[in-house]
């Protein structure tokens, strides 16, 4: 091996570049930019301003933050629903005025006054909501108008009542506490705002109305089509916004008791900047309470910081404007490029050097020499079954197979001429096995491990396993359960081919050829699911050995067969049985003579073998050229081989012309015949075995005479 190749191997072993793609595929990755901006803001202002972190400074900042957070949340909820609420500033001023009026002049108790304030502001929100939600006016222009209207209203009211308000002082300890109280040293309004952030987070991420608002923001038309009451939910989002402004106004009133006419001026721009800087999309559909919180802190720190640094009064709005522009630009670019970037970096090929490919030329001495034994197979269900990955027989000799439509189809013995629907799983059924009681166990791609009773009832056995410690993508859910077999004590061992791809794009896993797969054990006695073996290279077929203590498993892209002992003196050990197959192994099943059948789903090509040793080449290829053009293992041609437990190949069955069974993913011996299935075929083959035991069946081999 050349020095360069050794370096390539080591580089790919120790630098986990697949992690980059996995991190990018996380939803929380949206928060990184605002989070870094937040850190930078704190660092910069902490350095520049003396006693920035002092108690009094923090207390003042957090009290303002309390009120501001309500406004930002109000803005954020409307934005997530695809709208915008510019009236928050004047609504806030209205809330302030109403609170002062009710407390100072009307002399109402806090318990009555505050709900009234919230109601008043919610009414403004309702006006917005009716205009925008039901009458379908433009959000921007409508809320701009309410901004002016409410502001004018507040100005008129202030002209009339401002003096009276400033003369009176409410006699309420509770009101005072709301304004300046600090339970546990934390300002009351800030504490309330933190509670609000938690509530909003739960609202948007865990409740039905929250999901509806998010869905409307994401795609209004789709939301309408799935039956979400779009108009009502849009209206409600503005009402919520108004109510939150009311709370903020009341808090402000309690804190300062001031009826100034400049209350809340420019607040809508601050709130909008905060929401966008935090990463909430202006277009709707993407946003969270945490983003709002981060944005609010950033904006408040910057505006306060600039004031304390002694800049002129215009500096803060100027800075805000620039930040808003930058944030919008970043948001647009990020939204546009995130999935592009993800698509480019997710595929992460590994180094894999396969042993030299054995000879397959016809007439050669190789055990894999090509022949045309499979030329004259009988066909079952031609054109009636699509995608029979696996075939199996029950105790009565009926044939079962899965199809790509999600059905389990049964052909009745002995003629196997009429397909009948046995069960509908909903995913693509792959591996099949019968347990001792005659239940059909099936691995369903995208769903997990299921049990189908002889009556056709479908029961879930398991669809998740223990999550791998420190794994970035959540691998607890089963994405691609592939093949299974049942141990004598009823435990089910099944393979999950890859945790990084699903049924629609598993082909990319061949390009990676990394150990992305695993073998999992489900114990029906305890109901527990545990991962047994990890980091396997597309584990596929599983077959119980005749000793009942171990099973054979195939790793497709690694072209090898291994054996794992789960019981007995060698429990826990893995031994390689064949490591240099000329093709890609799929399902393994028992043969009547004590050996095992193995389907090769495809054959190795020299160009692919070479590419496997050059991960950089494959990585660039995955980025540059379209999926249909990618180089791929040749799965247009396959064969069946028979091997024994020492790894000796005893027989090979080929269809040289490749007319009927170009691709073989499984085979099952039954009463002197071999039945062939293929994931991308539309037929099942039936091949007569001349030297096989004509009475042998899989059910008796596994479960004796038990029916």
């Amino acid at each position: 091996m050349s020095v360069q190749e050794t370096l390539t191997r080591w580089r790919n072993k120790y630098i986990p570049d697949h992690v980059v793609g996995e991190i990018l595929s996380k939803n929380w990755i949206d928060n990184t930019v605002p989070f870094l901006a937040l850190l930078a803001t704190i660092l910069v202002f902490g350095q520049v301003i003396p006693d920035f972190f002092s108690l009094s400074s923090m207390s003042d900042t957090t009290r303002q933050l309390g009120e501001f957070l309500f406004i930002v949340m109000a803005m954020m909820i409307v934005m997530v629903g695809g709208g915008i609420d510019l009236s928050v500033g004047s609504n806030y001023a209205l809330g302030n005025f109403v609170a002062l009026y009710l407390m100072n002049l009307a002399g109402l108790p806090v318990g009555v006054a505050v709900p009234l304030v919230i109601l008043a502001c919610a009414a403004v929100g309702l006006l917005n909501g009716i205009l925008i939600g039901y009458l379908r006016l433009r959000a921007f222009i409508t809320t701009l108008v309410t901004l002016i209207l409410v502001r004018a209203l507040v100005d008129m009211l202030l002209l009339r009542y401002a003096v009276d308000i400033s003369m009176a002082m409410p006699e309420s300890a509770l009101w005072e506490y709301i304004g300046i109280g600090s339970p546990l040293g934390i300002p009351f309004s800030f504490l309330l705002a933190l509670v609000l952030v938690g509530v909003v987070h739960l609202f948007l991420s865990r409740t039905r109305p929250g999901w509806h608002i998010m869905a409307i923001g994401g795609s209004r038309k789709s939301a309408y089509n799935v039956g979400i009451p779009v108009r009502r939910m849009v209206c409600i989002s503005y009402v919520i916004s108004g109510a939150l402004c009311g709370v903020a106004g009341a808090l402000f009133a309690a804190r300062l008791n001031s009826a100034g006419s400049d209350t809340g001026i420019g607040l809508e721009i601050m709130a909008l900047t905060a929401a966008v800087v935090g990463g909430n999309s202006l277009g709707g559909g993407r946003g969270s309470a945490a983003k709002g919180l981060m944005g609010a802190v950033i904006v408040l720190l910057i505006t306060n910081g600039l004031v304390r640094l002694g800049f002129q009064s215009g500096a803060a709005p100027l800075a805000l404007g620039i930040i808003l522009l930058a944030a919008i630009a970043i948001d647009v670019r990020w939204l546009k490029n995130r999935y592009k970037l993800l698509a480019k970096v997710y595929v992460s090929p590994a180094y894999l050097a396969l042993p030299p490919c054995p000879d397959t030329d016809p007439g050669s001495a190789s055990p894999y020499a090509q022949n045309d034994k499979l030329r004259n197979v009988e066909l079952i269900g031609l054109g009636e079954v699509e995608g029979p990955e696996d075939v199996i027989f029950d105790a009565d000799g009926h044939l079962y197979t899965g199809t790509r439509f999600g059905d389990i189809v049964r052909f009745r013995a002995p003629h196997y001429d009429q397909p009948e629907l046995f069960a509908h799983t909903g995913g693509h059924p792959l591996g099949l096995a019968f347990d001792r009681d005659g239940n059909l166990l099936v691995c369903v791609a995208g769903m997990g491990l299921y049990r189908i009773t002889p009556a056709g009832d479908i029961q879930k056995m398991t669809d998740e396993t223990n999550r791998t410690p420190w794994s970035i993508i959540d691998d607890s859910r089963l994405k691609l359960a592939d093949d299974l077999d049942v141990a004598p004590d009823g435990r089910v061992f099944f393979s999950e081919a890859t945790i990084r791809y699903g049924m629609s794009n598993w082909a990319y896993d061949a390009l990676e050829s990394r150990g992305n797969g695993r073998i999992i054990c489900y114990d029906p006695a305890t109901g527990r699911t545990r991962t047994v073996l990890r980091n396997l290279i597309f584990p596929n077929g599983i077959c119980m050995a005749h000793d009942g203590q171990s099973f054979f498993f195939a790793e497709t892209w690694a072209c090898r067969i291994s054996r794992y002992w789960f019981d007995g003196p060698r429990a826990g050990t893995v031994e390689t049985v064949i490591d240099d197959l000329p093709g890609y192994p799929d399902n393994i099943n028992r043969a009547s003579d004590g050996s095992y059948w193995l389907a090769l789903v495809g054959m190795r090509t020299p160009s692919m073998d070479l590419a496997l040793k050059m991960p950089g080449f494959r990585r660039r290829m995955a980025r540059r050229i379209s999926p249909q053009e990618l180089i791929f293992p040749n799965i247009n041609t396959g064969c069946v081989i028979k091997f024994d437990e020492h790894g000796t190949v005893r027989d090979t069955l080929w269809d040289l012309g490749g007319e009927n069974h170009p691709m073989i993913t499984s085979m099952r011996e039954h009463k002197g015949y071999l039945y062939l299935g293929g994931l991308l075929n539309n037929r099942i083959g039936k091949y007569r075995l001349d030297d096989a035991d004509p009475e042998w069946t899989g059910m008796t081999s596994y479960w004796g005479g038990v029916k």
Binding site: T605, S607, A611, R624, E629, L630, I631, I635, P662
Partner: protein, 366 residues
């Protein structure tokens, strides 16, 4: 400074797959819209690797390996006509009924009646890789040399080595002299004469037709979706252009991946390279691309392929008018020459091992 920026540009292009590193292909659209005319055409004759069709007097000749056969253009019967010591690379009939045959070992033979003699004493010209011939008056000949590094049979190696050492020669048979008309061409493989008398050359590895005008070369037609080969004139002043293999994204990508290309060329049998071919899908060790996976027993016609059948009809301005196709799911691949004869269009499909006979007024809409 400009060299610096150029280097930087190349580096970023390579990183991002832009500019020269892009593997975009011209679409098969307009005049090149795929059809199945070649696939459905009746096979006139079955013949292993038919290559060059030629009208010689009233006879139609076709080369196949080191044999030349006479074809009955109506019945399709083939009769052996002549055999050579090496495979025939190209043939041309001179106006005086003499025939010049180029062999893959570089020899030029002059055939008169049933005797042949090697043409020697041609000045500086040394035959190495003759790919196409054209008569130039009674006693002169234009010869295309595909490459100075690889023989005709090694065309795949020349492409994968990014060869550009081809040349165009004019041989004066009467005076025994030769002159080089153009050099550093990337596998010139087809030649014709325009109605203004200028020579038009198909430069395969650069996917274009160029006109030789003195020292200048003008590009007549570029960005072809395949590798252009032989051209034969039509009665109305246009030409048939055989694109003997399609370009593909994967091959274009491999051409830009030096490390992989070099290892592939040194470690892998040429049959199994990621490279264009005259026929494909015959051996499972050939490379397979994702879109070529058979589903429910069917190979999609649009599947990525290393070989196809593609014959393009050019008008007198050397622009494509229409084209005849055999697609990925077909077998009439590797079209290397076409010939209009007696109101019929004869087509040699090297990958399909047959000669096709079509009506002379065939068009692309089928």
């Amino acid at each position: 400074m400009t060299a610096m920026t150029a280097m930087l540009r190349r580096a970023t292009d390579r990183l991002l797959g832009r500019g020269e590193a892009a593997v975009t292909l011209p679409p098969m659209d307009g005049a090149l819209l795929p059809n199945t005319v070649l696939e459905q055409a009746p096979a006139l004759a079955q013949l292993a690797k038919p290559d060059n069709l030629l009208q010689h007097g009233n006879r139609v000749l076709c080369s196949s390996g080191n044999r030349v056969l006479q074809l009955d253009p109506v019945q399709g019967t083939l009769t052996p006509w002549m055999q050579f010591e090496a495979a025939v690379a190209a043939m041309v009939a001179l106006p005086d009924q003499r025939l010049v045959v180029a062999l893959v070992d570089g020899q030029l033979l002059c055939v008169e009646g049933t005797t042949s003699r090697a043409l020697t004493g041609l000045g500086q010209y040394r035959g190495f890789c003759p790919t196409a011939l054209l008569a130039d008056g009674d006693n002169a000949l234009i010869v295309l040399e595909g490459s100075a590094q690889h023989r005709c049979t090694e065309w795949k190696r020349d492409l994968m080595a990014r060869g550009a050492s081809g040349s165009v020669w004019r041989l004066d048979l009467a005076r025994g002299d030769s002159s080089r008309l153009a050099s550093r061409l990337a596998w010139p493989a087809g030649i014709a004469r325009g109605d203004d008398g200028a020579l038009v050359v198909a430069e395969s590895w650069r996917h274009r037709l160029i006109k030789l005008a003195g020292q200048r070369t003008d590009v007549l037609l570029s960005d072809l979706p395949g590798y252009p080969g032989r051209m034969t004139p039509t009665a109305d002043g246009g030409a048939w252009l055989a694109l003997f293999a399609p370009r593909s994204q994967l091959v274009e990508f491999v051409l830009r991946e030096k490390a992989y290309r070099l290892r592939m060329m040194s470690e892998i049998d040429e049959r199994f390279w990621v490279a264009p071919a005259l026929e494909s899908g015959r051996d499972f060790r050939e490379p397979l691309q994702g879109g070529a996976i058979k589903s429910m027993g069917i190979l999609k016609p649009w599947a990525p392929t290393r070989s196809c059948g593609l014959l393009v009809r050019l008008d007198e301005q050397w622009q494509p008018r229409f084209s005849l196709h055999s697609r990925a799911d077909g077998h009439r691949h590797g079209v290397t020459s076409a010939l209009e004869h007696d109101g019929r269009l004869l087509i040699a499909s090297q990958g399909g091992h047959c000669i096709l006979g079509l009506p002379g007024d065939v068009s692309g809409d089928a």
